[in-house]
């Protein structure tokens, strides 16, 4: 029984997996970065499907927007070219890749089986107000800590990327 929600999920999941595969298979970093943007926007669609509107908005604005812009900026700044073809050994190609694929399928299968009994909670709209109340009441101390973390990360990035005066 395919409801409209499941159909939307399947389409978005196909886009996500295709984007992730494209990230692996593309040789040029800029193509990989654009594939990652596709994955992130499709993930935002999945968050919307689960009623997490604010997380979806943050995903698009911060992840697909800010972080990926920084990535693309650095790729262009460093003039990153095509990646050389890795000379994978025959063992890795004929044993490692199939084993990895089997492992991936098996993990996905068992996670699916082990969590099959979890029913989705009745779809109650999670309001952004509830979320922000929780964030600024119970989690206000971790929240302030993260702002401190961002500040320190910015300072660290500045110090690292600054050009030495002596050179």
């Amino acid at each position: 029984m395919i409801t409209p929600q499941i159909a939307v999920f399947l389409v978005l999941a196909a886009v996500i997996v295709a984007g992730a595969l494209s990230l692996i298979l593309q040789r040029h970093p800029i193509h990989s970065a654009l594939s990652l943007v596709v994955v992130m926007v499709a993930l935002a669609g999945l968050y919307l499907l689960q009623g997490a509107e604010f997380v979806a908005a943050v995903q698009v604005i911060v992840y697909a927007g800010a972080i990926m812009v920084v990535f693309v900026f650095v790729i262009m700044l460093l003039n990153a070219g095509e990646e050389e073809r890795a000379n994978v050994s025959r063992w890795a190609r004929f044993v490692g890749v199939p084993l990895g694929a089997v492992f991936l399928v098996e993990v996905a299968y068992w996670i699916g089986r082990a969590t099959a009994h979890l029913d989705p909670a009745p779809a109650e709209a999670v309001s952004t107000r509830d979320l922000s109340t929780l964030l600024f009441r119970e989690y206000v101390f971790p929240f302030e800590l993260t702002s401190f973390l961002i500040l320190i990360a910015l300072l660290g990035a500045l110090v690292l990327a600054r050009r030495e005066e002596s050179n």
């Binding site: 929600q5 692996i24 920084v70 699916g112």
Partner: protein, 100 residues
């Protein structure tokens, strides 16, 4: 409604693809992107459990993960710029001075 297990299976597959990209890619920027891919898979699992258990804490943790990812991207890309400036390469195979 979409069953919870669908989302979790997708999250596992996405994380696995991130690990594969992390191991196979040789450009240091793409390796960094695969870390972001894995973080996104974890975020999906957080939101899924948040809905499945009817608790909002999962979404709060997603914010923290996104903030940490932003900080990590800032510092990590600065380090990549530094590596490029010092070694003129972006290939992880050529950054091996700890091997010697």
């Amino acid at each position: 409604m979409v069953p919870t297990s669908y989302f979790l299976v997708l999250s596992a597959v996405l994380f696995g693809l991130g690990v594969i990209a992390f191991i196979f890619k040789r450009n240091i920027l793409t390796v960094f992107m695969s870390i972001e891919l894995m973080l996104n898979a974890v975020n999906l699992a957080f939101v899924t459990f948040s809905r499945s258990l009817g608790q909002l804490q999962g979404q709060v943790f997603v914010f923290f993960v996104i903030v940490v990812a932003a900080a990590e991207a800032a510092v990590g890309l600065a380090i990549i710029i530094l590596i490029h400036r010092n070694r003129r390469t972006l290939d992880v195979e050529n950054v091996d001075s700890l091997k010697d």
